[in-house]
Structure formats: structure tokens, C-alpha cells
């Protein structure tokens, strides 16, 4: 970038306009988060006041405790459920996806292309159509209604993750594999000690995106569970919000509980999130 000392006023104006657009957009985007957190610390009266109060006059930190101790909601239990479900399904997806993706990318076997084509086709089957058959399968034939496995097992494989990881395994140089074979390493050894370390960024991306999807999943757990003891956090928010009613300061505290963990993880690992999405173009 070359910088000249004298900047023409037109360029300056354009630069100012640019920043104005960006700042205005960022403020609008971030505002709901600001509003959520500040409302959660307002008093009941202040949260309901009209015209709205943009900054709490007195910070009621006890609101969070009050929301947390809400009688209908087992927050800690729901968080543990979500965390457990997300962790197990993410780990499971990683294992199944790595194995399948490696096989599709670097092993030769009969039926490989047909199988891969079938996998890809399943992306086009809409979830609205498969929701009912899956529901019937899980509840009637497997007898898993209101269980953890109903919320985990269907998500232990992800065609999307397989597809993404396959691309990365394909980019591992063939010479490395030839060298490994000469040294007597088979596929398992090569995968574990050479290929996996090479695709580590992709693994992190796949893990984060799966974890996020599991953390935010709502409809499926709502359908296949009934008791608060095994329901995840997103579903727990439903009885909470109807119980809290118009106590918006408590509602916003509850919303903050649910959003905060993903926000923290995102801010720490945002590079992997954004690059993963940019690379794959998935839309929730």
C-alpha cells in the first residue's frame, strides 16, 4: 500500500463514508446483543419503561440469579445435557467422518463412486420430509423417545463433514503416502501420523461447526424429548420464556445464558468459524 502525503479531499470523503457505512452496520448488528445484556440488568419497572432506558440506572446483578433459580427451569442440568450431547455427537461425527472421508479420498475399493454419489444425494433430501419418518423410527421402532441417544445417534455422521474432509485428504501429496508405504506403514498408520496432523485446521473447523449446530439445535430435541431432565438448553428456554412472561429483564437474562457460551467460543476461535463457513458455504 502506497501512502501519499497529501490526500485529496474526495478520497478523504470517500474514506469517511466507508467508515460511516461500516460503523452504522456494525452498531445495528451488535445492538440486539447490547439490548439483551443491558435489559437483563434492569429493574422490572425500568425494563418496561417507555420511552426505553438505554443504560440501566441501577445495575441489578441479582436478576441473573433470579433467572437462574427459576422454578420451572433446570438450567445447570440443561447446560450439562447440551454440553454432553454436543460433545459426544461432535466426537462421534469426527471419527465417522475422518474414516469415511479418508476412504473416499485415498483408498480404492469397488463401489466407492456409487456410494459417494448416494451420500451426496442425501444432502438434497429436505429435512422437512425426513423429519416424520425419523421421528417414527426413533420413537416407535427404536423405542428411544425421551432419551439421550435419540438426540445423539442420528447426528453421529454428517455427510457434509465427510465431504469437506474428503477435499482436504485429497490435497495430501501422494508422495507422502508412497514414502509411508515404502516404510511399511499401512493406511491406519499413515492416516493417524501423517494425514491427520496435516488436515488439523479442517478438523477444528468441522468440530466447531458440528458443535455449534448441536448446541443450537432446537426442533429435533423438542420433538423427541418430553422431560426437563434430559432436554437441552434451547428447549429449556421454551417453558422458561412462557413462565417468565413479560418479565423482560429475566427473559433477557435467560437469553444471555444461552447465547453467552457460544459467543465466548466464537470470539476465541472466530478464525476457524469464519474460514470454515467461507470455505464451505453452509447456511443453517
Amino acid at each position: 500500500m502506497d501512502r501519499t502525503l497529501r490526500v485529496p479531499p474526495r478520497v478523504l470523503a470517500a474514506g469517511a463514508l466507508k467508515h460511516l457505512i461500516l460503523v452504522a452496520g456494525a452498531v445495528l448488528t451488535a445492538f440486539p446483543f447490547y439490548w439483551m445484556v443491558t435489559t437483563s440488568f434492569k429493574s422490572f419497572a425500568e425494563a418496561q419503561s417507555y420511552p426505553p432506558v438505554l443504560w440501566p440506572t441501577v445495575w441489578h446483578f441479582e436478576n441473573w440469579q433470579q433467572a437462574w433459580e427459576f422454578p420451572t427451569t433446570l438450567w445447570a442440568r440443561s447446560f450439562a445435557n447440551t454440553l454432553g450431547i454436543a460433545a459426544v455427537s461432535t466426537l462421534g461425527t469426527l471419527v465417522t467422518a475422518v474414516l469415511a472421508a479418508y476412504a473416499f479420498a485415498r483408498m480404492r475399493f469397488r463401489g466407492r463412486n456409487v456410494l459417494f454419489a448416494i451420500f451426496l444425494l442425501t444432502i438434497f433430501i429436505p429435512s422437512e420430509a425426513t423429519l416424520i419418518p425419523n421421528f417414527v423410527l426413533i420413537t416407535k421402532y427404536l423405542g428411544w423417545y425421551n432419551t439421550y441417544q435419540a438426540q445423539i445417534v442420528p447426528f453421529l455422521a454428517s455427510v457434509f463433514s465427510i465431504f469437506l474432509l474428503r477435499q482436504f485428504f485429497m490435497s495430501v501429496p501422494q508422495e507422502l503416502q508412497d514414502a509411508a508405504r515404502i516404510d511399511g506403514a499401512g493406511h491406519v498408520r499413515f492416516l493417524w501420523s501423517v494425514a491427520l496432523p496435516l488436515v488439523r485446521p479442517a478438523l477444528i473447523t468441522v468440530a466447531l461447526l458440528n458443535f455449534l449446530a448441536s448446541w443450537n439445535s432446537f426442533l429435533w430435541p423438542l420433538l423427541v424429548t418430553s422431560s426437563p431432565e434430559i432436554r437441552p438448553i434451547q428447549v429449556a428456554l421454551v417453558p422458561f420464556s412462557s413462565e417468565a412472561g413479560t418479565q423482560y429483564h429475566l427473559l433477557m437474562a435467560g437469553a444471555t445464558f444461552v447465547i453467552l457460551p457460544t459467543l465466548v467460543v466464537y470470539l476465541i476461535a472466530q478464525r476457524y468459524f469464519i474460514e470454515g463457513v467461507a470455505r464451505t458455504g453452509i447456511r443453517g
Partner: protein
């Protein structure tokens, strides 16, 4: 004789390689087969049955006929929800794409704090729809909502937002003394409110994809154009836009399909109401399945979902045919 034994060894090795490979793909094959492929077939079979609370009988194409018969009540419901779906796409996709493109281009020109902006714009996309919807419901609140206060500052009367079934064109029209009728009243204000949430939620996603597309554009082209005396607008229209057209097309197809199939945000914000004015096709399918199972809900819902898939695929093919050709691939 060494030849046969060597052949044997080769065969054994190929056999071993096959077994190893099949073991690698086996877990994924079982899971994808049971939870994706099988339900896909099952859904199609269900659409050929009369099935409410209990399975009644094989019904051939009756369900498809019921949904597509212009004289039937199901047809009206389906067309109504198809109309909602179309409005929802028109209200979200162009605005999302336009804003995301502007943000991405401005960010790409090398602004200080680009990383920070990118982080902020992407934030809504990673938040859960259920929790974020609570915040928006609160901002859209008819009595204490922030939005009513904000529009009140510029003299616009308070609105019902998510509970307003009246069409927005009709509302704007009557404010100027113009009475519009029927479909001309446009999408309900409730659908507009849902669309505002949708735009907020997805804009960062599209911005990031556009940014990724922009980084593939050769920087030297810009420098060459500047040396030749091209202005910023010319550079945008003659270089950025054509070279970005594959990305724009990709985002358009993805966003259209995504908007047509939207469910969660509508489910949590309005549940299809008020007066069914936000009930798009996925919402109708869901309600048919679950709330009306007594009257052949499973059969009809499954049939609707396959008709809807055909419509979505047809629109995607149309986009590829008409717009795909105009895309410039370097």
C-alpha cells in the same frame, strides 16, 4: 512354480485392502443409511398412504390430488403458504445480498479494523435462533418495544409487528388515502418483522462468503485498471462485479433455497400466525404433520413435502438456466 502364489498374494492384498476400506466407511454408511436414505424412501411411501393417527390404507396418488386440486381446501392452504414463501424470499434475499455485497466490498478495500468488523457482522449467525428470537420479540413488542419508540421519534404510529396480519402495502397505501385490495395489500407486517430478523441473522454469513470470493480476485487487475485511469465505479462495475459473479450466483442459489426452506425463525417468532400470514410451506407441512394428524396428516404432509421439493428444485434449475449462463468464470 512361483507364479500362482504371487497371484495369490496379490489377490489377498486386494481383498485385505477392500475389507479395510469397507471397515473405514462402514460406520458412516450405516448411520447415513438409517437416518438419511431410509427416511427419504419412507417419506415417499408415506405420501402414498392415508395415514392420520393410525395407518389406514394405501392411497396411491390421492394425497397429491388433494393438494393440487384447485377446488379443494388443501389447495388453497398450499397456495397461500406458497405465496408467503415467495414474499419471504423477496423480502430477505435481495436485501441480504445487497447489504452483504456492500459491506464485503468496502471491507475488502482495506479498511482499518477489518477483522473486528468481520467478527461483529458474523456474530448473529452463530447465536441460537431461539434465544435471539426472544430478544427480537422484546424489541418488536407492541407496548414497550424499542422499535415502536424508535419509529415514534420520526412520527410513525406504533405497530403490532409480529402480531399484525395486515399487508404492508395496504397499510402504507391507506396512510396516503389509497385503499388496496386482496393480494395487492402485500405481505403482512408480521412477515416483514420475521424478515428483519432473518436479514440480521444471515447477513454476516453472506458477507463472509463474498469476502472469500473477493480474495480470489487478482489484485493486479485493480492496479492495472487504476494505471489505465479507471474510476472506482468503473472498477466495481467492470472488474469486481464480473469476477465476483460466480460467488454472487452461488450465494443467490444458496440463499433462495435457504429462505424457501426457513422454519425455525418462523416457528419461534410467530408460529405461522397471525391469521396464517407467516405460514410458509415448511410451516404448513409441519402443522399438517403434527397438529392435524387425525385427518390423514402424515399422508398429506408427506405429499406436500415432495411437491415442495419439486418446486424448490425447479426454481434452482431455473436459476441455473437463466442466470448461470451470465456468470463469468474467468
Amino acid at each position: 512354480m512361483p507364479a500362482p502364489s504371487r497371484l495369490d498374494a496379490r489377490r489377498r492384498r486386494i481383498l485385505f485392502e477392500h475389507i479395510e476400506a469397507y471397515l473405514f466407511v462402514l460406520p458412516a454408511v450405516i448411520l447415513v443409511g438409517v437416518f438419511d436414505v431410509l427416511p427419504g424412501f419412507a417419506a415417499f411411501l408415506m405420501s402414498l398412504t392415508r395415514w392420520g393417527i393410525i395407518y389406514e390404507r394405501f392411497a396411491g396418488l390421492d394425497n397429491y390430488r388433494a393438494v393440487l386440486d384447485p377446488a379443494g381446501a388443501r389447495f388453497e392452504q398450499f397456495m397461500n403458504s406458497l405465496g408467503v414463501t415467495v414474499w419471504y424470499v423477496l423480502l430477505t434475499v435481495p436485501i441480504e445480498m445487497f447489504l452483504a455485497l456492500v459491506i464485503a466490498v468496502v471491507l475488502y478495500q482495506g479498511t482499518s479494523g477489518r477483522g473486528a468488523y468481520r467478527v461483529v457482522y458474523f456474530m448473529p449467525y452463530i447465536t441460537s435462533v431461539v434465544a435471539a428470537a426472544l430478544v427480537f420479540e422484546w424489541m418488536f413488542d407492541a407496548n414497550f418495544g424499542l422499535l415502536n419508540w424508535a419509529i415514534g421519534l420520526v412520527g410513525i404510529p406504533a405497530q403490532e409487528w409480529l402480531r399484525e396480519p395486515d399487508g404492508v402495502f395496504g397499510m402504507i397505501g391507506s396512510a396516503f388515502g389509497l385503499e388496496l385490495q386482496g393480494w395487492m395489500t402485500g405481505p403482512s407486517l408480521a412477515l416483514v418483522a420475521v424478515s428483519i430478523f432473518t436479514v440480521w441473522h444471515f447477513i454476516g454469513f453472506q458477507t463472509v462468503i463474498f469476502l472469500a470470493g473477493l480474495t480470489n480476485v487478482d489484485r493486479e487487475l485493480y492496479e492495472a485498471a487504476r494505471i489505465d485511469g479507471a474510476g472506482e465505479r468503473q472498477i466495481f462495475l467492470r472488474i469486481t462485479l464480473p469476477l465476483l459473479s460466480p460467488t454472487i450466483f452461488f450465494v443467490l442459489v444458496l440463499a433462495t433455497v435457504g429462505a424457501m426452506r426457513s422454519f425455525s425463525q418462523i416457528f419461534v417468532l410467530t408460529n405461522g400466525g397471525p391469521l396464517d400470514t407467516t405460514r410458509n410451506v415448511p410451516m404448513l407441512i409441519f402443522q399438517t404433520f403434527f397438529e392435524r394428524t387425525a385427518v390423514n396428516g402424515i399422508g398429506l404432509g408427506a405429499a406436500m413435502s415432495f411437491i415442495f421439493v419439486l418446486i424448490v428444485v425447479a426454481i434452482t434449475i431455473f436459476q441455473f438456466r437463466v442466470l448461470g449462463r451470465r456468470v463469468f468464470y474467468g
